[in-house]
């Protein structure tokens, strides 16, 4: 099913302007292009809705997949001009939240698709929208009840007003009850700042979806149900879609495996998998290849505990995950999980587990690092309580390095550097840096989609602000350099220029072609010693013998040559 989100926005003046930011933010962040979104204003002068039956409700966008046009339309409401436009098109007037909710219910019922997740966010800074009109209040309660019955989750995104915002008299009955009682207080606290509101919207908008649900097995028969969540995933540029040149319609790709000679399609049972080692072909069934990877069923199996300082910083191979108990699967999970969390945190230890996260995945060892709940001043949860799952490297993953022997710095030199470090201090925040590559791609697409002349400029936040740094450091840099570098030393130059004398021509001179005589090459094939040759030599050899290879990896080149010459 698809996810859907309706923004129901109080059209009283203050709120509109700020909220547009939230909205376009959400548009950008929607996890899937198939998600549906709507933007509805209430308390407007003008009315607009598909059924034409509600007054003072303005359906700016009905529930649909957001596209370029919508982004433009929402953008139009931004800034001073936007406010003017909003005032002209919608204005503000009488308020009936009941009607607005009813209208939203209609939006939902008009959707023929199956929706897996329905959320409605009410944005307002008025705690008594009907100014005590009890009929309207009652109507709103009934309508919200109807909505909630159909599985819509109603959230309140409210901003603080000078005289405070009291949820209790009216909105408490409108919104969906929180996931658990403890969240209640948190949710009902209004936001002081718009940024907080944005954060809150974002936190709500991101549906947590467990990557996997499995058992944390402490010992024979002691299984705690947990969900694994990915809290940080490397965002990549979205993958391109192939389009037909003539019509720009998407095309589908089909991959077929067929027999080269007969041309008939090959069924899975008609193919096998193979690898060559020590000049011998080793063949296995596809099933066997999968079976080799299987060690045990998915789960986390406790090995023991270690003090936190035993978790080495450089033992890192992939981003961490997060686990949280699944009370719905095994009752009592939350309590044991909570006890384990409390004690691990208190004693500053982590739990070491063997972890099989999916079927047919070989085991990995993980450190479960306790995390206590943290909230910020805006009462937004920064870190939830649970365990971080840190993946640990095996012996194969550790590379042997030969650290160079170097003189160490004197305390005077270190002290000078300390001054430099202190001058360039800043407070690190993990969400402070945008990915310039993705931002640029997004801006480019935006420009193309919205027919803009040029993409909006992106600021590269991970570029050092060199001028500012230089200014802050002042004479310190020179002082440090005087302490560590001799007068004639050029730190930007090449090292002592021992071996570089040969190609000072800027590398323009092409290296002489490297070739190996044919008999020598054949001898290498015979003895299996091709690996000793370098990649350029192998490439040259491929060319020479007319071996066609798509690969550029050494092994691929070797395989190709062996195929050709070994016969």
């Amino acid at each position: 099913g698809r996810d859907s989100l309706v923004f129901l926005v109080d059209a009283s003046k203050e709120i509109v302007i700020g909220l547009i930011g939230c909205f376009s933010f959400c548009l950008m962040m929607t996890s899937s292009h198939r998600d549906l979104m709507a933007l509805v204003f209430y308390g407007t002068e003008q009315s607009k809705d598909p059924s034409k039956s509600f007054k003072h409700v303005y359906v700016y966008h009905d529930l649909d997949e957001p596209g370029a046009k919508r982004v433009q339309e929402v953008d139009a409401l931004r800034g001073g001009k936007g406010a003017q436009l909003a005032a002209e098109t919608m204005g503000s007037g009488e308020t009936s939240l009941g009607d607005a909710l009813w209208c939203c219910a209609n939006l939902y019922s008009d959707i023929k698709l199956r929706l897996s997740h329905k959320r409605l966010m009410i944005f307002t800074c008025r705690d008594k929208p009907h100014e005590g009109d009890s009929v309207k209040d009652r109507q709103a309660r009934t309508k919200s009840g109807d909505l909630k019955e159909t599985g819509v989750i109603i959230d309140l995104m409210h901003l603080m007003k000078p005289d405070g915002f009291d949820v209790a008299p009216f909105f408490r009955d409108i919104i969906s009850p929180p996931e658990d009682e403890s969240e209640l207080g948190l949710q009902l606290e209004p936001c002081d700042k718009l940024e907080d509101l944005q954060k809150r919207v974002r936190a709500k908008e991101q549906k947590k979806r467990a990557q996997a649900r499995l058992h944390l097995c402490l010992g024979e028969g002691i299984n705690v149900a947990v969900g694994i969540y990915a809290t940080a995933v490397t965002a990549r540029k979205p993958a391109p879609i192939r389009l037909y040149r003539e019509t720009n319609e998407p095309v589908r790709s089909k991959t077929r495996t067929f027999h080269t000679q007969t041309g008939s399609l090959l069924l899975p049972s008609e193919i096998k998998k193979s690898q060559v080692y020590g000049k011998k072909q080793i063949v296995m069934e596809k099933d066997e290849v999968d079976a080799i990877k299987k060690f045990e069923d998915p789960g986390m199996f406790l090995i023991g505990f270690k003090p936190m300082e035993r978790l080495k910083r450089h033992h890192h191979i992939r981003p961490a995950a997060f686990i949280y108990p699944e009370e719905d699967e095994v009752k009592g999970s939350a309590c044991l999980f909570s006890a384990l969390l409390t004690k691990c945190h208190e004693r500053n230890v982590f739990a070491l587990c063997r972890c099989v996260s999916r079927r047919n995945y070989p085991p990995r060892f993980v450190a479960l690092v306790p995390q206590k709940e943290e909230v910020d001043e805006g009462k937004v949860q920064i870190s939830p309580s649970g365990f971080h799952v840190i993946y640990l490297p095996y012996a194969d993953d550790m590379r042997t390095l030969d650290p160079p022997q170097c003189p160490t710095a004197s305390q005077r030199q270190v002290d000078k550097m300390k001054e430099i470090v202190s001058k360039l201090r800043f407070k690190y925040r993990s969400d402070a840096f945008e990915n310039p590559v993705i931002q640029q791609q997004y801006r480019n697409l935006e420009a193309l989609a919205l027919d803009m002349m040029a993409p909006e400029d992106t600021e590269d936040l991970i570029m050092p602000k060199v001028d500012q740094m230089d200014q802050r450091l002042g004479p310190l840099v020179q002082e440090f350099k005087d302490l560590v570098y001799p007068a004639d030393y050029n730190p930007e130059g090449k090292p002592a220029a021992k071996r570089k004398t040969a190609d000072t021509g800027g590398g323009a001179e092409k290296k002489p072609k490297v070739e190996v005589p044919e008999d020598e090459l054949r001898a290498h094939v015979q003895n299996g010693t091709l690996g000793k040759l370098t990649v350029p030599v192998l490439k040259e050899a491929c060319k020479k013998f007319g071996v066609h290879t798509t690969g550029t990896k050494k092994q691929e080149l070797i395989d190709a040559l062996v195929d050709q010459l070994g016969q």
Partner: protein, 698 residues
């Protein structure tokens, strides 16, 4: 390897030294073959009945056979060792054999670059060696830079140690038999003399016992890669560069080789071709040429065409290689769980540049003393995407470096909120519960104090070889050696290496029982353990599957088409024709008997039913469903039927369509009582299960 007659002697109940020595060589060669090292290997046998070596002259160097010259080891060699190396009935002087090996190494490595030359001698030392030449031999070994290793049936002790209790080992260690013979004793002295001459300090460490060696060789070699230096400059502002060099220190290693697809009959790769075609999303699936396609990207619901050339032109560009400090932050603000990427880079000062060394050392020490970390922009080269990351100071006894790890971008983060565990009274553990967990932690601490009072880690993950690789090679090896037998079970040592240490497993039994008592855990009976088809096949079902995650997208696509195609076509004018089309598609889907296809089939049947009700014609549908039911056992479609039952897709009853011959109760019973009896109203359908018959019936 010594294959002389004394090698087959053994005390009762013990494996003869010959077999053990053979095992050592086999294990060693296996490791070499699978590690695909470029090391070359020769095999010289001595004590053989025949003689074949280049020094064979005037009755000298007899009974020594060069079995294989210096080559990269392969399966051929393994097979030869298995089938051609047997115990023979002569004896040869092991020092002569050593000389043959030295000669072989020297002649066959001429003109080759070798990092190391080594001779491993496997023998029981049971021949009298003539020690006259020994000093010449040692001198030659030293000159040629050849190292030596001895593998013996018994352990050799240090003189001082063995002097203290001279008889230690003699009866105890297997392989010693009744103690050493005179020949062996004198040979051991020669061996020690040579080894200590070559390396005064550690010479004796290179003398192994067979058993010891077999144990150490049981696991396949870990994957090793030569570290690649990444020279760059660390910059602070515009005028403070420090020459550095980075090395990947930790990264998830992958197997070097991947599987190729071959034809099952011929085992040839060339007989199989994979081809990707592109087709339009229309009824005919019109194929289009790859060249007639362009690329586009989604922007919300729109698709924006964006050619590769334009994309390249407009994409984010940067100046290439860089390691630039953005600023410095407190170490604790960079949290461990926020580390991104798949690697750790160690940064040292530039090669042969002690000034850079001092400058970097000053930075490392300054950061360490201030508990700070450098936040840097890192770009590997011009083509790769820049990252933001943290460089931590790392000061070890013998070296200093920065440790670089990638940090997240804003886009990478997902701020999930979870209900608080602490403030929830339902889940707050009691004091007794907490203390049960406390003692569990006590009993399962993986650190123990050794004799010196130091903490010793009993379970170092980074010392365990990746079990996936070990298993992979074990199976490959098995298949190569015995192709027609099923794959072997997991090696016991590997299984054991992944388990909790025995001491801990024993120690935690009590506390675990206590935890079990104190924390009641009950598996929640799912309201419906039987899920509906949508839950089972829905993409976001909780149960992930590695295979699903990667592959089956393609199939799904076509299926969706067939199913959706049929559903939409119901609306058109000739209902009779349409329904026939539907059933045909259904049969098409069901013939695949793949669970993923079943869901589509159910969608079809539901659509069929819906339309039939709308048209007021129940017979076609009821007839089809009934015949389908009878054919279930024959066609092995029970799984599908269960799904149909759970989705409650039953016959159309009189209540729904007047013309139906099925009563409401019958319709309900239809799904429930499967074995009871065949429906009365059903047309007499044969249990053929044949698709054509079913269709003809329509």
């Amino acid at each position: 390897m010594d294959v002389g007659f004394s090698m087959s002697n053994s005390a009762p109940g013990e494996e003869p030294p010959f077999e053990l020595a053979k095992k050592v060589i086999q294990k060693f060669v296996q490791r070499q073959v699978f590690a695909e090292t470029k090391d070359e290997l020769a095999l010289v046998l001595f004590g053989t009945d025949s003689t074949k070596n280049s020094l064979d002259q005037d009755g000298q160097y007899q009974n020594i056979t060069v079995h294989r010259n210096l080559m990269i080891p392969d399966f051929e060699l393994l097979e030869e060792i298995e089938h051609q190396v047997h115990p023979e009935s002569h004896q040869a002087d092991w020092l002569d054999a050593l000389v043959v090996c030295m000669d072989l190494l020297q002649t066959e490595t001429k003109g080759k670059k070798c990092d190391r030359l080594n001779i491993s001698l496997l023998t029981d030392l049971n021949t009298r060696a003539s020690s006259e030449q020994i000093d010449v031999i040692i001198e030659n070994l030293k000159q040629a830079g050849i190292t030596l290793q001895f593998f013996l049936p018994f352990p050799v002790e240090d003189d001082e140690e063995s002097g203290r209790d001279a008889d230690r080992g003699s009866p105890g260690h297997p392989g010693m038999g009744k103690g050493l013979s005179e020949e062996q004793k004198s040979s051991v002295d020669i061996v020690k003399h040579i080894m200590l001459n070559l390396d005064e300090e550690n010479g004796l460490d290179e003398i192994y016992s067979f058993r010891n060696a077999i144990e150490q060789l049981c696991m396949f070699k870990r994957i090793e890669r030569r570290p690649m230096a990444w020279p760059c400059q660390l910059t602070i502002g515009s005028c403070l560069p420090i020459r550095i060099v980075g090395y990947k220190a930790v990264t998830e290693e992958k197997l070097k080789k991947s599987w190729t697809t071959v034809d099952a009959q011929s085992n040839k790769k060339d007989d199989v071709k994979r081809e990707t075609v592109y087709c339009l999303d229309d009824d005919n699936e019109t194929e289009v040429e790859k060249d007639d396609t362009i690329q586009g990207f989604r922007y919300g619901s729109d698709i924006v065409p964006f050619s590769k050339v334009d994309q390249e032109q407009m994409k984010y560009k940067h100046d290439g290689k860089c390691f630039a400090v953005l600023g410095f932050a407190k170490q604790h603000t960079v949290r461990r769980h926020q580390f991104m990427g798949t690697q750790v880079i160690k940064v040292f000062s530039g090669k042969d540049d002690e000034h850079a060394g001092v400058a970097l050392s000053a930075l490392i020490r300054a950061l360490d003393e201030l508990n700070m970390v450098a936040i840097v922009r890192y770009a590997y080269d011009r083509r790769s995407n820049p990252q933001v990351g943290a460089a931590f100071p790392c000061i070890k006894k013998d070296h200093e470096c920065l440790i670089y790890v990638q940090l997240p971008f804003m886009e990478d983060l997902r701020q999930f909120t979870f209900p608080s565990l602490e403030n929830n009274k339902k889940f707050t553990p009691s004091d007794t519960q907490l203390s049960a967990v406390d003692s569990l932690i006590d009993s399962m601490m993986l650190l123990e104090e050794d004799d010196n009072g130091d903490q010793k880690d009993m379970f170092k993950v980074h010392h365990i070889p990746n079990p996936a690789f070990q298993r992979h090679f074990q199976c490959l090896h098995h298949r190569a050696v015995s192709p027609s037998t099923p794959l072997p079970p997991m090696e016991p040592w590997l299984k054991a290496a992944l388990e909790c240490p025995d001491v801990i497993a024993e120690r935690c039994q009590g506390p675990l029982e206590e935890v079990k008592r104190k924390f009641p855990l009950t598996e929640v009976e799912k309201k419906k353990k039987l899920k509906t088809s949508a839950q089972i096949f829905g993409k976001d079902s909780g149960e992930p599957d590695a295979k699903m995650a990667k592959g089956d997208e393609e199939e799904d696509y076509n299926l969706a088409d067939i199913a959706e195609g049929s559903v939409t076509s119901v609306g058109s004018v000739d209902p009779m024709h349409i329904c026939q089309q539907l059933t045909r598609r259904l049969e098409q889907l069901l013939s695949n008997k793949n669970t993923a296809y079943f869901m589509k089939s159910i969608t079809c049947i539901q659509a069929f039913r819906e339309q039939s009700v709308k048209l007021g014609d129940a017979n076609l549908y009821n007839g089809y469903l009934q015949s389908l039911k009878t054919s279930i056992p024959n066609r092995g479609l029970e799984v599908f039927w269960d799904l149909l039952v759970q989705d409650a897709v039953t016959l159309i009853s009189k209540d729904e369509v007047k013309g139906s011959t099925v009563s409401k109760t019958d319709a309900d019973q239809f799904l429930v009582t499967e074995e009871k009896k065949k429906e009365a109203a059903a047309p007499p359908a044969e249990d053929t299960g044949d698709v054509d018959d079913l269709l003809d019936m329509m």
